[in-house]
Amino acid sequence: MLAAMSDKPPVLRLRGVYSERLSPVSIDLAAGECAAITGPSGSGKSLLLRQVADLDPGHGEVELDGAPRSGMRGHAWRRQVIYCQAEAGWWDDHVAPHYTDAARAAELFQRLGLAPGKMDALVQELSTGERQRAALARALALAPRALLLDEPTAALDPEATARVETELRRYLDGGAAILMVTHNPEQARRMARRGWRMEQGRLEPQWT
């Protein structure tokens, strides 16, 4: 058992993931690791996250804790590797029906700085920043093995950003992994041990 622990497979392993507008990408993310991707708009950052989440047709293999994606059903994969869109979609007019575990959601709301009353509000009554945090809470409440975050704090003030980053670190400490797209180089430095830069569909390492 101990021997197995030492060569434990990475939480998330991308092996030659590519699509029409994306050159092959290979990245390993260990337990508790966050990797950041920066780059200009339209360079393919979101496309890469969507590829990893298996939301678009593409090529290459992704492994979760050593288990290949091709051996899992699409929805079972996406339940464990959750993609948070930059602009989240909502399938109900009210906030509450988006959460299955009300107690867990309330806890996350509090830690992300959302007033408890927001749970009973309409989605359209929330501000952009509140919606962004509510969407993150929706994903975190499901406790996935890996999170694919697309501009998770784009609409947030510094205080709310700090709360989100604290919550993400707590999530990483649980042994999960995060692949994060951000426009903010300082956030990339704060959160990630390794950084990449996306340029016209090509991913180049920036720092390690």
């Binding site: 699409g74 929805h75 996406r78 959750i82 989240a88 979609g89 909502w90 994903a139």
Partner: protein, 266 residues
């Protein structure tokens, strides 16, 4: 039965009403007079043509001829289902979804009635089969095209919501659930309205026809009830078939949303 036979002259006199309608259009500058006259002409030609074809088919009562007429009617209905929605599925998806919904529901409901309530001799008696298929097709066509349009026009609007559900691990079926419900409802509601209004607001065409043809009103009402039930079941099946067929084409084996299979609107 003492049917008053219509003479050609009777129709010519009745056509004065069409001229009246065209006159109104002209007086109010609606610019519809050409369309009114053209539509009236089409009605005359199409109905007389159908009447002559059915006279031949009824006279022969051959199974293959009946099947041919039914097949042509279904093909035209499927084409109409495919053409009504503005959005198009790639690789002739609209046509395939329309054909599947139309053929499956029409065959199932028509055979059901022919083997339970009506039981003509022989069972494919064109007088019953063709009339039945014709009535069913009207409802099926409406229900299927409304449901198909509901999914195709709604999927772009609901893209973010559907992808949000997929991203959180929902199956394609769960992610489409509310769009499917809404679309199937759109398809079924007309036949519910038709059933609730029957006899009070309008006298259904079939019943009116049979009463004019000399049938006892109670017997005519029973026929109409049977047909209403038939249409209700048929439109339910057609709406569901069309909506699910569209969903299957808009998702793939990995449970992804495939909007690339939806061509841009005309």
């Amino acid at each position: 039965m003492d049917v008053i036979k219509l003479q050609a002259l009777d129709l010519v006199i009745a056509s004065l009403l069409v001229l009246l309608s065209a006159g109104i259009s002209s007086a109010l500058r609606l610019n519809l007079q050409r369309q009114v006259l053209w539509a009236a002409l089409r009605t005359v030609v199409q109905l007389l043509l159908v009447g002559h074809i059915l006279r031949i088919v009824f006279a022969h009562a051959a199974p293959w001829l009946t099947a041919l007429v039914v097949a042509v009617m279904m093909a035209l209905a499927a084409r109409e289902v495919a053409a009504r929605p503005k959005a198009r599925l790639a690789r002739r998806g609209n046509g395939q979804v329309g054909a599947m919904a139309v053929v499956a529901t029409t065959v199932v409901t028509a055979l059901f009635i022919l083997s339970t309530a009506l039981r003509p001799e022989p069972w494919y008696d064109p007088r019953y089969t063709i009339a039945l298929v014709g009535i069913v097709l009207g409802s099926v066509l409406n229900a299927a095209s409304l449901a198909l349009d509901g999914v195709l026009s709604g999927v772009r609007r609901d893209r973010l919501a559907i992808e949000a559900r997929l991203s959180l691990g929902a199956t394609a079926h769960q992610a489409f659930a509310s769009l499917l419900r809404e679309s199937v409802r759109r398809g079924i509601v007309p036949s519910i309205n038709q059933m609730s209004a029957a006899g009070i607001i309008t006298l259904p065409g079939i019943m009116t026809g049979q009463i004019i043809a000399g049938m006892d009103p109670i017997d005519a009402a029973k026929y109409q009830i049977l047909l209403m039930f038939l249409l209700c079941g048929a439109s339910g099946m057609a709406a569901m078939g069309a909506a699910y067929g569209a969903m299957r084409r808009l998702t793939d084996e990995r449970g992804r949303l495939r909007l690339d299979r939806l061509l841009s609107e005309r």
